[in-house]
Amino acid sequence: MFKRNLTAAAVALTLAGPVLAQDADLAKIREEIRQMKEADEQRMQALEKRLKEAEAKAGKAEQSAAKAETAAAGSASRGGENAFNPAVSLILQGTYANTSQDPNTFQITGFVPSGGEVGPPKRGFGLSETELTLSANIDPYFRGVATVALTPENETEVEEAYFQTLALSRGFTLKGGRFLSGIGYQNEIHQHAWDFQDAPLPYKAFLGGALKQDGVQLRWVAPTPVFFELGAEFSSGDQYPGSDRNKNGVGGSSIFGHIGGDIGPSYAWRTGLSYLKFSPLDRSYEDVDSLGGAVTNTFTGTSKLWIVDGVLKWAPNGNASHTNFKLQGEYFRLQQDGNLTYDDTAGSAVFGSIADSFNTDQSGWYAQGVWQFMPSWRVAYRYDTLRYGTVSNGIVNNALGPTAADFPVLANHNPTRNTLMFDWNPSEFSRLRLQFASDNSRIGATDNQVFLQYIYSLGAHGAHKF
């Protein structure tokens, strides 16, 4: 436009050429052209300035929009008194059970009762424990976790309540409170994450399901490419195979070590050795004598448990989404040395209270394989067996009165069990399981069990324990 104006003016001047303009007119025209030029330039500059400002604003708008997005995302979890709420998750589970034997008569014959909830679930529809877990970092130094189980009998049980250090260096972690012991492999896995509805027989017989320690645990991870950890626990020792002792000092201790690693991209393994030593004082269990009267047997001595554990996991190229396989097994050996007191004063009152030495050397193992053959579907098989081994009951051997028939729980028997399981996992948070078992825990009776179980998890995303 500027050029056109100038050209127009120039043409006008040229056409008016022969007519001699007066000097004043010429000067006036020159002045006008100069003013037009200036005005055009000013307009151009103003336009350019406005364009630059607009671009800058657009850039800023983009940035602030991006910031607003992140701020909006952040504000959902930021600010207010709820900002530091712990992660909360709730497990809902229940079982429909069909058993050929009465669950109330369940016993693992040949083995001192472990007192845990180790029997099959009640027949028919039954609610299992509802587990509430809260966890959070407490400060840069500590983390806290609590798992509370609400039982169908309307009791509240503290499964785990512990703190854990975050800031110890050199590979150390200290845990304190109540926690699942780090011995073995399955002991540290919560019940709702098990691959079967129930615990393996060795866990039921030797640890009452799973061992919880009230005490401290120190763990050390070696700075090596192969995973190597050592752990030691000192506790009150009042869970089976220990007892509540009312004594100063350490009631039970354990030490364990695990080694693990990868074999290529598809295999991961871990194996370990654990040793547990408890010193039960007046640990008692109830039994029935040969006349049907109630008997209380009390053991005082030492219980030493060895566990060898191993797990191998396979997934094609390490991707467990579609298919994967897990093989796990553990071998247990329990040795108890001490004195047993037989007391039938509350029942038949034939012998009163008799005590003598009591030594056992028993073992057991289980092996299970779980195969996810397509996304969401798994099948698993487990074999458990317990070896009666040697049970040296001084009261019977030294003919002090009661005979072997007065210790029916300790009858010579090698329990075995076969279990087959199918489960459907529509997502990571829901599971429906159908389980069949043929259980020879009781002497002379086989329990054929069918369970249908549901397990649902709400709230915070759980951790994928190995």
Binding site: V221, V226, P265, N319, L458, H464
Partner: protein, 229 residues
């Protein structure tokens, strides 16, 4: 007892402590491992926790990850809850105070970026959605540039002795990345406006956040989701 000597000799290499490089980096996904390699070069020793053939949502805190995290100086992950199933467990079990949440040794790429597809409302009925936004950030070239700059500065913070090297590598990388990005944009112009079908929502950053509708046959199975853009 000769067999014991041979056994120890055979086992000892397995326990050999890795050669000390200035910075031990544990990368959660291969893209961050590759980026850290570009920025760190031979001043860093990098372990990548997952491969491109593995779904990072399904990884477990297996022993080899815990062992490698134990000796890491810097952990580089995506964040935005992509590794929520396993990384927190690896952190707490590693016995390594440097890589805990909130420490400089823990670097989340998603924290450096503006995420897209942040859900208005989060509910598991929508499937396993990510509350902070789409975590598959590495497919947008401009995101890589931003993360590279931030990661280089974090490396400088943790290993100040090699500041010059990290900053120079970052500058060189960003220059090459700029040129490559321009080239890719040019090569991608014929694809503009094309409709595509994707297997999972991880392609959003690559194709731009202006995506079309989801066609869902089942809310919880991401393999049946379709995205057209």
């Amino acid at each position: 007892m000769n067999w014991l000597k041979y056994l120890l000799a055979a086992l000892l290499p397995a326990f050999a402590v890795p050669a000390v490089a200035a910075l031990n980096i544990f990368a959660c996904e291969p893209e961050w491992g590759a980026l850290a390699k570009e920025l760190g070069g031979d001043k860093t020793s990098i372990y990548v926790a997952t491969t491109a053939l593995q779904d990072p949502h399904r990884i477990e805190a297996r022993p080899s990850l815990i062992a490698r995290a134990r000796t890491a100086d810097l952990v580089v992950c995506t964040g935005a809850e992509l590794e929520i199933g396993w990384m927190p467990l690896v952190q707490t079990q590693s016995g390594n105070p440097k890589i805990q949440a909130g420490q400089p040794g823990y670097f989340e790429a998603a924290s450096q970026l503006a995420l897209i597809e942040i859900p208005q409302r989060v509910d598991r009925s929508m499937g396993d959605v990510h509350a902070a936004g789409n975590p598959h950030v590495h497919l947008d070239p401009s995101n890589i540039a931003k993360v590279a700059a931030a990661l280089a500065e974090r490396m400088v913070q943790l290993d100040p002795g090699e500041t010059v090297h990290y900053r120079a590598s970052a500058r060189a990388f960003l220059e090459r990345w700029q040129q490559a990005s321009a080239r890719w944009e040019k090569e991608g112009t014929p694809l503009k406006g094309m409709a595509i079908v994707v297997y999972h929502k991880n392609m959003s950053y690559l194709v731009g956040s202006a995506c079309g509708k989801w066609a869902r046959s089942s809310p919880s199975r991401d393999c049946r989701r379709r995205q057209r853009t």
